[in-house]
Amino acid sequence: MSTENNVSRRDFLKTTGIAAGTLVGGGLIGGLVGYNMNGKGTATLDHGNGTTNEATGSPKAKMFFMNERDFSVLSNATERIFPEDDLGPGAIGLDVPYFIDHQLAGQYGSNSKEYMHGPFAEGAPTQGYQSRLTRAEIFKQGVQKIEAEAQNRFKKGFSDLEGKQMDEILTAFQKGEIQMSGVTSAFFFILLRAATLEGAYADPMYGGNRNMDGWRMKGFPGHQMTYATQIEDAKFQKIEPNPLGNH
């Protein structure tokens, strides 16, 4: 059903250079320019979302975050969680911050499928999420607390810190050491980490996992119709990934 499509799509990406990011619009996330990761230079800011329809619209517009500082804090925090390395892109290169932004603007952010009726009470950890806050509210507060903590500890914005300093702050959040309202910082960190991995590995139609590079690094072939003829093979199968909507 999809093999032909697959090949032609791959060729299309090669010939247009979209995969290499030559259709750069630039400027959109200017707040990130100059962001220094382990002294390895700036994060790439090119476009191309890895799905069809590259030429129209921009998946790199914000639906949730309202200013560049907050978005940049989010971006840098996710990059520390899932950094660029010799295997491939990190969270920023995979467009994870946009993925999270878009998710926060929707059902995920407003907890529309969760039980959100009171009374709210602090439960035991075995009872799970008991906050009156939605995920959108938790992220907004959390990101601002990260920034405040950077000012507090290092008298600098979070996005201007060294990697090690960022990690120190994120670790404090992870350990629940930062005071947040209506939620623990440990819970916020769990959400942040989970959302980062979701953005790295969800189908690219959600705006993350750009070029399916998350999948490619991991050796996951995305949406394939069948493995009936390969499942018995002893050999590891390297299969070029396929996104949804391509069949």
């Binding site: 969680i81 899932f82 799970g128 189908d203 493995y227 018995e232």
Partner: protein
């Protein structure tokens, strides 16, 4: 205003596997059946875009919408119960097919031992093997009595398997379709298990191995090993579920009226009989009364018990006096196991929900417990279900949970690691039960079902023992690093474990000992039936649906008999 509709012979509350089976059998027998399902219509054509881990496996698109209804939970009766605000520990079903749409399809029969657990335990180990706080009881049926119904369910679902398990109960017939394909991982497991003198066999599977036509004339297609099975619907119509088998069978008779967006809020009762149910159209908000000669609760473990409690039918269990049976014997499962990290790369992303090899040598009473401080055990299996990249980030011990090392290791081991897992049987305990919440309500103003549940000493001992056995197999398979599951402490409702909740509406041989008889007919109300894994007096070391499907066929037979002659069926 409530609209009263024309009366029918049978009404079922919910249309998953149990509701679908009851509907198919009763409508084939000429009874007029109405199926009320709170969720939506759906079928194979709706699953074409199902290869989407984020939407279905992470954001739970086809599961119960908790904004309308959930359960509340506490570990013990001294704690304040709080709502399960997000899905986690179990993934409840909603919509046609219920959770049988997003199940894996592993389709076992419980062991003969399970049905006579109290008698056989006392016989072999004396009466004091377990502390009296464990409410162990025999079921109201033996394996042999249930065998014809097992057979019927397996034929309807086209279960693929091999009759190689020396511990299994006797089968009248072979599996209707051959076992699934063998993979390198499974071969390695089989070899290791044999080296350890265990008896491996292929997991009986509702991911059907070849095109199959069932006795009702429904066709189930051949599994494609696509890897999007557990938590997803099947785009091929290859995973047996109510919507591709029993529901079309029921509809073909012309006797089945299937209504969606119909949430039942009460069982109506007059004297010692029920007269029908009240439901709300969740779209229009209108209320309806559906009168019926027979009411069948097929709304899963929690809502079967909840509807009985709300409608004041039967005596709720009181843990302080030990009186009452409704809500008693709530059990879950425990998941012992061991993770293995390998040098070789495996096609872990390929697979099917029930593709696996298993051993029963440490299940049931298949091994000697004389020197052990627990009874029962679990089936130990390697399953290749299709490892998903968001949800699966395995790292060897001591790897940080984020940052460069995490990224490197989780990517490296995504295709170089897997787990051997067991489903540990869980025994009922007097402190573990279901009741109505006194604070939190659902979207219809009804109390939430409240769970008071914790793991017991029996669970902890069993978990430790079986995890070590899983690690033995992993070692024999040649894993470079082996990590047995950490010992369990308190039950936690957050991480997914299994949707194998049981008990609360137990089947029993006397009215004192349970809620329904062995036709799943209510002891106090002869025209009311309740079928779900809630009927299990304890939970076994297997997935429940094979046994549950058999009980649903038994229940349907009871309803058909009752409709002819009335009265108590036992």
């Amino acid at each position: 205003m409530v609209t009263t509709l024309p009366s029918v012979d049978v009404v079922t509350v919910g249309v998953g596997w149990t509701g679908g089976i009851v509907a198919a059998e009763c409508s084939k027998a000429g009874l007029k059946v109405v199926g009320l399902e709170r969720g939506q219509k759906r079928g194979t054509e709706d699953y074409l875009n199902v290869h989407d881990e984020y939407r279905y496996a992470i954001r739970y698109d086809i599961m119960q919408n908790l904004s309308k209804e959930t359960v509340s939970f506490r570990n013990n009766s001294k704690m304040r119960a709080l709502p399960m605000r997000q899905l986690g520990s179990f993934l409840l079903g909603e919509g046609l097919g219920g959770s049988g749409t997003h199940w894996n399809g592993m389709s076992y029969r419980f062991l003969p031992y399970d049905f006579q657990i109290k008698t056989l335990t006392d016989e072999r180990y004396g009466p004091n093997k377990l502390d009296p706080d464990y409410l162990l009881q025999d079921w109201a049926l033996t394996y042999d009595q249930l065998e014809p119904y097992f057979d019927k369910f397996e034929k309807t679902a086209g279960i693929s398997g091999e009759d190689k398990n020396p511990f299994a109960g006797k089968r009248a017939n072979p599996f209707p379709t051959p076992p699934m394909k063998m993979t390198p991982m499974l071969e390695q497991f089989e070899k290791a298990a044999k080296n350890l003198k265990l008896s491996p066999y292929m997991v009986p599977s509702a991911n059907v191995s070849e095109v199959y036509k069932n006795p009702d004339g429904e066709t189930i297609n051949a599994c494609q090993y696509c890897g999007f099975c557990e938590r997803f619907g099947c785009e091929y119509g290859a995973k047996s579920s109510a919507e591709i088998t029993v529901v079309p069978t029921a509809l073909k008779t012309g006797n089945f009226d299937l209504r969606f967006n119909s949430n039942v809020v009460e069982i109506l009762k007059q004297g010692n009989k029920v007269t029908g149910v009240k439901y709300i159209d969740t779209i229009s908000g209108e209320e309806f009364i559906q009168p019926a000669n027979v009411v069948v609760l097929t709304s899963y473990v929690f809502n079967n018990a909840k509807l009985l409690m709300i409608s004041n039918i039967g005596q709720p269990y009181d843990p302080t006096t030990g009186k009452g049976t409704l809500g008693r014997n709530y059990c879950y499962q425990i998941l012992p196991g061991a993770a293995g990290f390998f040098d070789e790369q495996y096609n872990t992303f390929m697979g099917a929900g029930s593709l696996g090899m298993t051993v029963d040598d440490y299940n049931g009473d298949n091994f000697d417990h004389s020197e052990l401080d627990f009874i029962h055990g679990g089936n130990i299996a390697l399953t290749q279900t299709g490892t998903r990249p968001i949800g699966s980030n395995p790292t060897p011990p001591d790897t940080p949970t984020w940052g460069p090392e995490f990224k490197k290791q989780s990517i490296h081991y995504y295709t170089r690691s897997f787990g051997i897992g067991a489903q540990g049987a869980s025994m009922p305990h007097k402190e573990n039960y279901m009741s109505l919440d006194t604070v939190y309500k659902d979207a219809y103003g009804l109390p939430l079902m409240q769970l008071t549940y914790n793991f017991t000493d029996q669970d902890r001992a069993l978990h430790k023992f079986i995890s070590a056995r899983a690690a033995d197999i992993m070692k024999e398979m040649g894993a470079k690093t082996i990590v047995p599951s950490a010992e369990i402490t308190d039950y936690n409702i957050v991480p997914y474990q299994t949707t194998h909740n049981t008990g609360g509406t137990v089947m029993s041989s006397t009215p004192e000992n349970g809620v329904v008889n062995n036709y799943l007919q209510h002891w106090d109300v002869e025209n009311l039936f309740a079928v779900s894994a809630g009927n299990f007096a304890h939970n076994s070391g297997y997935n429940p649906t094979g046994t549950l499907g058999a009980l649903a066929y038994r229940c349907a037979e009871g309803i058909i008999n009752y409709s002819k002659s009335g009265g108590s069926l036992v």
